[in-house]
Symmetry: C2
Subunit: 337 residues, 2 copies
């Protein structure tokens, strides 16, 4: 059993962009296991836009991480020692954990994670461990796509966006992805089969939409916020739907920034907007795993992970999310498990 662990603890609440002094990397003794606890060796740490929310004390959907506490994150790891009945050493578990090399858990927030032959743990975790259910329920339950409808997804080459667009194609939609740079745009059209890509770094999103979707937008799967969101929302069709999944462009803002209210537009075009978090659908996760897994086996769903080595560099890696520097679902490889 490990005697030491590395862990990132929240030292200060970030103001604006995350600074190097906001989190501190510690080496600590691993606490002794109590009855009912087990020790997990973390294999991969998921870095997600919501990490920045948890660091802050803004209004949010879970308690923020306390100052001095280990930074919260999605993890997959292997149980290396257990004093909890029913949890065997060697078991793979995933869920909400810590930015750490090892963590002691009583099982809260963690579930067994299946090992699927032919799919690496990184790919499985980077597909099913949060982003897959987010895309599945946000698009299908809230977006309610119908064949022939026009779907726009922002952050389209990211962990959630790539899956949203492919499910949209499976459901017969015309899919337009918004992403940054020619590589990501080529990836979502040529490798994932999106109909069109808009490179927000080199073209005006509104003008591109006018050209690519003169019919208007039925579904806007929103992850970004800011002027890109407004460009899409102002082009929504009658009875359009907006699954509101994230607003990453605003998370680092030092003063509250909101795009203008669109109340009149929502009324006149009878739009539906609904904010959601993946855990709202927790009791239906198995349904999404089954569907996503089936599509992967059929070759209809591909996912790309951006795996970066070294827990000690997690703070540098997480910043990539807010600059668009990752390409695919961002994971930190913490250890070989």
């Amino acid at each position: 059993m490990a005697e030491k662990r590395h862990v990132w603890r929240l030292a200060k609440r970030p103001v604006g962009d995350i600074q190097d002094s906001d989190l501190k990397y510690h080496e600590e003794p691993v606490p002794a296991l109590q009855d009912g606890q087990f020790l997990v060796q973390v294999g991969y740490l998921s870095l997600d836009p919501t990490n920045r929310i948890w660091m802050s004390d803004m209004e949010q959907y879970m308690p923020p991480v306390g100052l001095g506490d280990p930074m919260r994150g999605g993890i997959v790891g292997r149980v290396v020692e257990s004093r909890k009945p029913g949890v065997e050493a060697g078991t793979l578990v995933a869920g909400l954990g810590e930015w750490a090399s090892h963590m002691v858990s009583d099982g809260t927030g963690l579930s067994p994670f299946p090992e699927v032959p032919g799919i690496s743990i990184a790919q499985a975790f980077g597909t099913f461990g949060g982003v897959g259910p987010t895309a599945y329920f946000g698009l299908l339950d809230i977006g309610q796509p119908k064949p022939g409808e026009t779907l726009v997804v922002s952050a389209a080459a990211g962990g959630v966006g790539q899956i949203v667009g492919q499910i949209g194609k499976i459901r017969g939609c015309k899919v337009i992805g918004i992403a940054g740079g020619p590589d990501k745009c080529r990836f979502i059209t040529e490798e994932l089969g999106f109909d069109h890509a808009i490179d927000y770094k080199s073209e005006d999103v509104g003008q591109a939409l006018d050209r690519l979707a003169p019919e208007g937008v039925d579904i806007n799967f929103e992850q970004v916020g800011g002027p890109i969101m407004s460009a899409v929302v102002s082009r929504m069709k009658l009875f359009g739907r907006i699954p509101l999944c994230g607003l990453i462009s605003s998370y680092n803002a030092t003063t509250p920034q909101e795009e203008p209210g669109r109340w009149t537009l929502i009324l006149m075009r009878r739009l539906m907007i609904r904010g959601f978090i993946v855990t709202d659908f927790a009791d239906r996760f198995p349904e999404s795993f089954q569907a996503l897994g089936g599509w992967m086996l059929e070759g209809k769903l591909k996912t790309r992970q951006d795996v970066r080595p070294g827990l000690d560099k997690a703070l540098d890696y997480v910043k990539l999310l807010y600059s668009g520097g990752n390409f695919g679902k961002l994971l930190v490889e913490v250890s070989k498990i």
Copy 2:
């Protein structure tokens, strides 16, 4: 058969508040009936907030009224002459018509209107002719009220609001109405059974909500917009719903006015907002008539009309909607039918 009719025609598109010169009152010959047409003597004209939208060329859900055309309005009237097979003289009809004493129709937009013993035409029209289905579908389909939840409705003593609040009580909600002045506030609590009233003319709506609903708001049936809306929206609970029915405070604005976007709030609290127009539910109107009629017979639903005499004064009357001067569903008595 009448040889002359009176009719209001749109002369100019209003800028800001409706001016006396925006509509003109004409005396005209009644056009000769063609085959397939019938002549309606209008009994009551419904004046509704949306009239101001139709006068403008803002983005809206129907074509605006053309300059020089008869002003559009909800009407109930009696067929006095018919050259349309299946439509008998003497029949009561209701639907979308004209601000006129008589109108020639081919039936488009009109339906037979039942005469119910013990219920006056004004009350029946002022309950079932638009406002009832609006309240019914907006609250039940979009608002999804559950027993014990807190429902806030603005313009609570108006045509739609009074019905929304009473359906909320029938469904076991705690109901708070926002209305202007002590008479309206007393009416909705003492006569209609709302739990609480907030007089927006004499108290701060946000402070009143903090006192009356410290638990927060599950459903905001929105009709008004502006700062009153923002006060309610900022107090929505997790998973709250906002049926967006109207934004009357903005209809007379000369420059676009929108309350701030609430995107972050919608995301974090997982709110659902949906704009709607009553005609979105047209194929289900009979369901609403049956439910509303049943509740009236059981004494669980009361409605108040504000009936004003004289088509020639319709222009003065419609302005009451935007100053809060009406008390109950605003109708013009055009003729005794």
